[in-house]
Symmetry: D2
Subunit: 381 residues, 4 copies
Amino acid sequence: MSLGVWLVGGRGSVAVTSIVGALALRAGLAAPTGCVTELPGLRSPALPGFGDLVFGGHDPSTVPLTKKAEALAAAGVLPASLLAAVQSDLAAVDADIRPLPEAATQSATAGLIVADLVEFRERHGLDRVVVVNVASTEAVPDGHRAHHDLALLEAALREPEPVLPSSALHAYAAFLAGCPFIDFTPSTGARLPALDELARRQGLPYGGRDGKTGETLLKSVLAPMFAQRNLDVRTWSGINLLGGGDGANLADPAANNAKTTSKQRVLGETLGQEPQGTVRIEYVEDIGNFKTAWDLITFAGFLGTRMRLEFTWHGCDSALAAPLVLDLARLTGAAHAAGRSGALTELAFFFKDPPGDVSHSLADQFRVLTEFVAALDQAQP
Amino acid sequence: MSLGVWLVGGRGSVAVTSIVGALALRAGLAAPTGCVTELPGLRSPALPGFGDLVFGGHDPSTVPLTKKAEALAAAGVLPASLLAAVQSDLAAVDADIRPLPEAATQSATAGLIVADLVEFRERHGLDRVVVVNVASTEAVPDGHRAHHDLALLEAALREPEPVLPSSALHAYAAFLAGCPFIDFTPSTGARLPALDELARRQGLPYGGRDGKTGETLLKSVLAPMFAQRNLDVRTWSGINLLGGGDGANLADPAANNAKTTSKQRVLGETLGQEPQGTVRIEYVEDIGNFKTAWDLITFAGFLGTRMRLEFTWHGCDSALAAPLVLDLARLTGAAHAAGRSGALTELAFFFKDPPGDVSHSLADQFRVLTEFVAALDQAQP
Amino acid sequence: MSLGVWLVGGRGSVAVTSIVGALALRAGLAAPTGCVTELPGLRSPALPGFGDLVFGGHDPSTVPLTKKAEALAAAGVLPASLLAAVQSDLAAVDADIRPLPEAATQSATAGLIVADLVEFRERHGLDRVVVVNVASTEAVPDGHRAHHDLALLEAALREPEPVLPSSALHAYAAFLAGCPFIDFTPSTGARLPALDELARRQGLPYGGRDGKTGETLLKSVLAPMFAQRNLDVRTWSGINLLGGGDGANLADPAANNAKTTSKQRVLGETLGQEPQGTVRIEYVEDIGNFKTAWDLITFAGFLGTRMRLEFTWHGCDSALAAPLVLDLARLTGAAHAAGRSGALTELAFFFKDPPGDVSHSLADQFRVLTEFVAALDQAQP
Amino acid sequence: MSLGVWLVGGRGSVAVTSIVGALALRAGLAAPTGCVTELPGLRSPALPGFGDLVFGGHDPSTVPLTKKAEALAAAGVLPASLLAAVQSDLAAVDADIRPLPEAATQSATAGLIVADLVEFRERHGLDRVVVVNVASTEAVPDGHRAHHDLALLEAALREPEPVLPSSALHAYAAFLAGCPFIDFTPSTGARLPALDELARRQGLPYGGRDGKTGETLLKSVLAPMFAQRNLDVRTWSGINLLGGGDGANLADPAANNAKTTSKQRVLGETLGQEPQGTVRIEYVEDIGNFKTAWDLITFAGFLGTRMRLEFTWHGCDSALAAPLVLDLARLTGAAHAAGRSGALTELAFFFKDPPGDVSHSLADQFRVLTEFVAALDQAQP
Ligand SMILES: NC(=O)c1ccc[n+]([C@@H]2O[C@H](COP(=O)([O-])OP(=O)(O)OC[C@H]3O[C@@H](n4cnc5c(N)ncnc54)[C@H](O)[C@@H]3O)[C@@H](O)[C@H]2O)c1
Ligand SMILES: NC(=O)c1ccc[n+]([C@@H]2O[C@H](COP(=O)([O-])OP(=O)(O)OC[C@H]3O[C@@H](n4cnc5c(N)ncnc54)[C@H](O)[C@@H]3O)[C@@H](O)[C@H]2O)c1
Ligand SMILES: NC(=O)c1ccc[n+]([C@@H]2O[C@H](COP(=O)([O-])OP(=O)(O)OC[C@H]3O[C@@H](n4cnc5c(N)ncnc54)[C@H](O)[C@@H]3O)[C@@H](O)[C@H]2O)c1
Ligand SMILES: NC(=O)c1ccc[n+]([C@@H]2O[C@H](COP(=O)([O-])OP(=O)(O)OC[C@H]3O[C@@H](n4cnc5c(N)ncnc54)[C@H](O)[C@@H]3O)[C@@H](O)[C@H]2O)c1
Ligand code: NA
Ligand code: NA
């Protein structure tokens, strides 16, 4: 199965790390470390291979992919040696990362996006294209009644006043073009009733929201541990220090707020109560892509005795995200091939803020994911 | 169901915290924080209530329970206010913590232990007695061929030369007396083929080994997280700083070795390879019962990028252990009532070094435990 | 020399810990751990003894000192055993902690404060009284031209509209009453040109600002270390998690801002440049008086190699502050006796935000303090 | 002043980082970050410039310097870009790193070392040569009476049985050749009465021992902080995880012991008592040159309240050491030029285990160093 992977934000750190990585995997130059779909229990012929992936995308930036990749290598995100080896393959992708279309109405803009998607699919003769949003995090948008009804939305999109945030417009266009949509960011994406209606009408699956790659990943195993030991978590405070494009963007309080909200869910839902404390994101330019997260958890045990856990996570954000982007593209492509439509709740393993009333325990989510792949496997002809 | 809880090491920190806690719970003076068997999914009428527990034990120490409890209160392990309230109940238990019997042969000593157990069961009119080992950690014993065969063992025990370490002799006597046995320590306990033979012959369940309350508990959720994300854990080094009686005992290299070996299993079995690094235990008298464990984990992600996690756990060892001792007594009592015999592999959730070929993921272990309780529940008349 | 110690905020945590501690030291029940003036190089007959200290103060709260002390004992700040021993001495101080006077104009209020101070000094037959501000941190006040000129200030104080924040009014009244003034908080205190004028006119010394007891104390030794090794500190980010009265007050952004500004000075002045990053204070009620501060410092070394230091400080704020309050009272009393007036720049060792162009290296500050005490010593008759 | 820098262990990580760095500084390709002698208060015309340094040395290894430098670049110790620029200069140094001479007696070996030193000095027309030991740490040697007397030593060296560890033989030969000697390692070096006698007879200065670049550096500012605040440090435990050549060597218990002993001095001498706890070094091959040190300090404050500090230091050992090697060569060269002989106690700032009864506070040591440079400055013609 040849699979297009259309990256909204295709010139960003996560996107470029994903593309370089896929090229390296295809060339047999790297091991698939960090790729969940390569684990023994999840590997499946139902999933397209790394060699079947073809990349394209949208991005307002004009920085060439090779230049961005060099910057990532200088920052220690990509190995310099690898870069040289995939240089020409990477340059070849450049033409498929298109500028962001703009038109007088959002309806017209969506039309241009659809045209780009269709042209990409046809030119490369792809079986299908999965759209993955890895663009900068947006501010939480104001509500709008057109968000709740597809007919209203279609009318509103024809007005000059924009009604959808960029991420949702990309989801809308993806669905019109017959493409599944994954939101790797905390932005709105497909997460509006009107878009869910559209996805189901078109018979398309979608998933999201906000890749789980650091502090929240740890919360998804530590919070269940405290819960299963009947320990009383009193406070959970965290701070994330990061630079890079994502960090700079999150220095904007509105985007920051979208992110920290999505990082909070796991605690309340796992512990059955919200411990005191907050999670903060602080932009420190010099720290770059290697985020440092520090969390302090205080808890009471038997007879009220107070105890503490603290951890420091020093992770390379793009290196943690990229293999999951590849996993999600493969899984969503296979789900589409298997005829799935609507929200893919089985992908909760990957996200901070998954749709539906799902478990926030990573272990539960891993089991669900394993069963999901087994089912795709059996649905194979 | 009235249940005797016979604590080998009944005057130690874990034992006294368990007894004080049970008295406080019975009197409604404390919440069962830390007691796993009080979680919604595990609470069951099949389990004896806290009010049904009657405590006894063996210990060479002659320090009165009330005096030990005061020391624990001064160290912040027990709330001083609570102590006053259970003072007289606690004093009443004192007479049931007996000195360690000694005779010319281990066979004769076992006979005296059996006599103590039977006398305790009859005097209190108990349905059954579970023996729980919370005595000081022993050195790893030399092997002996009598360990592998019950008939050989019985013969050897009648010789003047001791053949079993103390913990195993207690397990042997417990089985003779018709009592299930739990080893909360890394000592030998019931973990010898000859004793397994005896337990099964007597129709008795047993469980262990080494309560999982700190660094290893964290490993049992963090190692699966790395594995499920296909991240390549390269090194895992840890150091535990602790004082208290347990710490002093572990300053002895032989005991220390028993402990650190039991702390290592989870990594190799979960990650499929042994990362570099070791785990150390260091006795620092002044630190007392509030252990500090620090671990550094380094791992490689996508395209080999290096990342790190470090954590500091500041836990009160006895407060973490005591509720689990109560849980184990209740669960094992119920298993005995339900006719279970042999190794209780379903209790792996509680131990660093469980018997059998079980998962070392806490989440898996919790599921198994939940199913175990559900089965006990259904076995109820 | 009998010395009155008048505590503005006399019913707060720092105040009560200081009073209980002084009573315990006088009674020989505790060692002077944390008291700098008891170090070999600083002990001096020029300083009043702990037994010479008599406590009074102002506080709007009406909670009895003994009740506040019990709360501090329950929180682990004071040892419960000690409390019982000083109970009656402490109750005797209660009457000398007066309600906050209020009148139609600030001039009149100052008059009432002066009356309280004079009455206290005379009733106890004290040689002198040092006023120490340990009240809740105030918001940074708006500027006012009367702050710059004593004559203008005296006129403005007679108007109905308040012109001074509470801390500065206390400093003003202290000076009128002939009392030296120390500001242990980041509030305005005596730090206005008009008040400096008054202090010098009255021949009175004053000192401050903001006791240095945690993160900033560490900065005052770590920043010089980096500077002296010619290492290039790139980022320095910190977060302070604390509960307690001080924490609750600092949850107010205005007070918080006063505090974080005073915490920043040391870096810029020691490193010769401001590293990236900020310092944050977060109120987490459940954490209480045992603050946790975490700092991450990233730095570049030889040939640009990047390195990191992180630390976690888990300190009991009031226990760190109280001995310094006693030190400051003794030192300032002696300075007054020796005829010093104006800003006591030699006390920079104690403060986050000291007056004058002083070194921010703790080691330099300690040397200056040692010389200061030696000079007081020689000034003795 | 042209200055030879003769590195014992000239093909090791510290040596090669020092050489590459000096070449880069000479070429204006890097800033002298980490070089103490470039600080405003220490820069002096009395010191030879970076451009005046000429490198040579001894090492049993035959790995070319350029190859070693590539390995250091791959490990992130040296910037790859820099390497290319100094490649040919570095290759030119290679011939001056000589194999370790060996002869029938240590006296004869010393003669060969002297010959190498003299030949190096003459061929390059150097004013003087400073020998710096950066070879692998040795085991603590057995004592020998010849160590205490120069005449005895000279006789013993002529016997077939070796009497000096390698580092001390190098010091002996350096002194014979008229070269000052610096020991950057915890080995014996010049630290024997017989060698001190020789150095003074020859009018040569020497210094050491064991460069202070990580955990001990932090101790030298934190221990004085606790002391100056009269806080009662109860326990200080540390663990150092490192790989690299130095780490592998320290995995040998004897070498490890030499190191940990030298790391302990600062605490006892600064705090006036030895806190409980130990310092450990653990070899973890995969961690490489970027050592991680973790320390836990527990202390009691006012009225006995317990508090804690913990820190994690993540430093690149060679990058921290190399600029100090250059500093030491410059300072010792200048001291020699100024006619200094015997132990240079003023260099305590650089060492874990300095000679003489000196302060272990970094701040004091920095002051002494500043005065030392000022004196060299004034001694200039
Ligand atoms: N571990 C992780 O890296 C991680 C985890 C969870 C979520 N995310 C999210 O992934 C996203 C990408 O992160 P990154 O580090 O690559 O950020 P980045 O700043 O490097 O890249 C974002 C890219 O999006 C482009 N862009 C901006 N607005 C756009 C728009 N309207 N349409 C299309 N492209 C647009 C930018 O030009 C840029 O190239 C962020 O939203 C981040 O929050 C990342
Ligand atoms: N979190 C935890 O506390 C934890 C976790 C896992 C395992 N454990 C194990 O639990 C055990 C008890 O820990 P503790 O902190 O209470 O130690 P402790 O030193 O306070 O108590 C041990 C008691 O055992 C008694 N004892 C010694 N030898 C005995 C023997 N042969 N027979 C009977 N009693 C004997 C001692 O007199 C003492 O009273 C230790 O082996 C420890 O390793 C504790
Ligand atoms: N380590 C430390 O504890 C430390 C360090 C530096 C500065 N400080 C400062 O010391 C002060 C006291 O801290 P705390 O923990 O005792 O706080 P707290 O909240 O326990 O006590 C403050 C007291 O001030 C009283 N108060 C409020 N407004 C007043 C006014 N206008 N006049 C007189 N009294 C007033 C309150 O009623 C309260 O009793 C705070 O400003 C804090 O920022 C403390
Ligand atoms: N921050 C630091 O790096 C630091 C701080 C203090 C002390 N030190 C000490 O500096 C020394 C060098 O550290 P490194 O990281 O460069 O180690 P390394 O293992 O990379 O280099 C040591 C070199 O010494 C050579 N050598 C071994 N025995 C020798 C001998 N007898 N004569 C001459 N050369 C010999 C080896 O072949 C090797 O090339 C070690 O002793 C280390 O403990 C380093
Ligand atoms: Na940490
Ligand atoms: Na830490």
